[in-house]
């Protein structure tokens, strides 16, 4: 499946300029692929609950299929966007200190968004 395109030395070091070898490249493509059906589902879900109020949204998320699909949306999007933003930071920010700070901030943001959404979906899904 996942072809390893690193040189033997690169593999031994397990590093690249991003300190992560080809892992990020692959995961960015993997999540881009899963994002297509998941985000399309997300749009359909939002349209289906528009105007149904709090009760409507809660009822929809108490259907396990919706809750599970929404959790997948969140996980796929958050992993994808964290890697994407890391690439952007590495492209434009060359001062080492600032770069590390922004990369940390990027991870904190992604973890916060992911956790807040997962918790909310689970809380509603489990009934309240």
């Amino acid at each position: 499946m996942k072809a390893d395109i690193r040189t033997p030395l690169g593999r031994v070091r397990g590093l690249g300029s991003a300190r992560d070898g080809t892992g990020h490249f692959w995961r960015q493509r993997l999540t881009a692929a899963s994002n297509v059906p998941l985000l399309l589902y997300f749009v359909v879900f939002l349209i289906s609950v528009q105007g149904t109020g709090h009760a409507g949204l809660v009822a929809a998320l108490q259907n396990p299929l919706n809750a599970i699909a929404m959790l997948l949306v969140v996980i796929s999007a958050v992993v994808h966007m964290r890697i994407g933003m890391q690439v952007i930071i590495e492209d434009y920010v060359h001062a080492e200190g600032l770069k590390i700070l922004l990369l940390m901030g990027n991870t904190f943001f992604a973890v916060f968004v992911g956790l807040a959404l997962v918790f909310s979906i689970l809380k509603i899904g489990f009934g309240g």
Binding site: A32, I47, H54, F119, I121, I124
Partner: protein, 132 residues
């Protein structure tokens, strides 16, 4: 042997601003901009869903905002950013599999991404309004 004198005749790496803006290049930049907008926009979803988890009173505030003119405009923009970024991503898949690298193909893909994202966004919002 390498002819060092020829080195000086090579073009220097030019800066972005000396290129005539091209559609393909704009689409590449827009893919990055839409990705960033989607990134920041996840906070809107956090607000909406955390409010829903907090209870009906909190939810009314967030949901009321998204129902307002400003809220609807933001959601319309987010829809376009998402669909444009999605089509741009599919374009990347086509390239990753080794297709569509020719000049004409790239131009066609760029136009398709732009036109497709606009048409799809309008279609989605027609459905939104019909089902309202």
């Amino acid at each position: 042997m390498a002819d060092l004198s020829r080195k000086s005749a090579r073009p220097l790496s030019p800066h972005l601003q000396i290129y005539r803006p091209m559609l393909t290049m704009m689409m590449s930049i827009v893919h990055r901009i839409t990705g960033s907008a989607l990134y920041v926009g996840t906070l809107l979803l956090v607000w909406w869903l955390v409010a829903a988890a907090a209870g009906p009173a909190y939810f009314e505030v967030a949901d009321g905002f998204f129902g307002s003119i400003v809220g609807q405009l933001i959601l319309f923009g987010y829809t376009w950013a998402l669909l444009h970024h999605m089509l741009g991503g599919i374009r990347h898949f086509i390239w990753d599999f080794g297709h569509g690298h020719g000049a004409e193909a790239r131009e066609l893909l760029a136009k398709g991404t732009l036109a497709g994202s606009i048409v799809l966004t309008i279609l989605v919002w027609i459905v939104v309004i019909i089902l309202r």
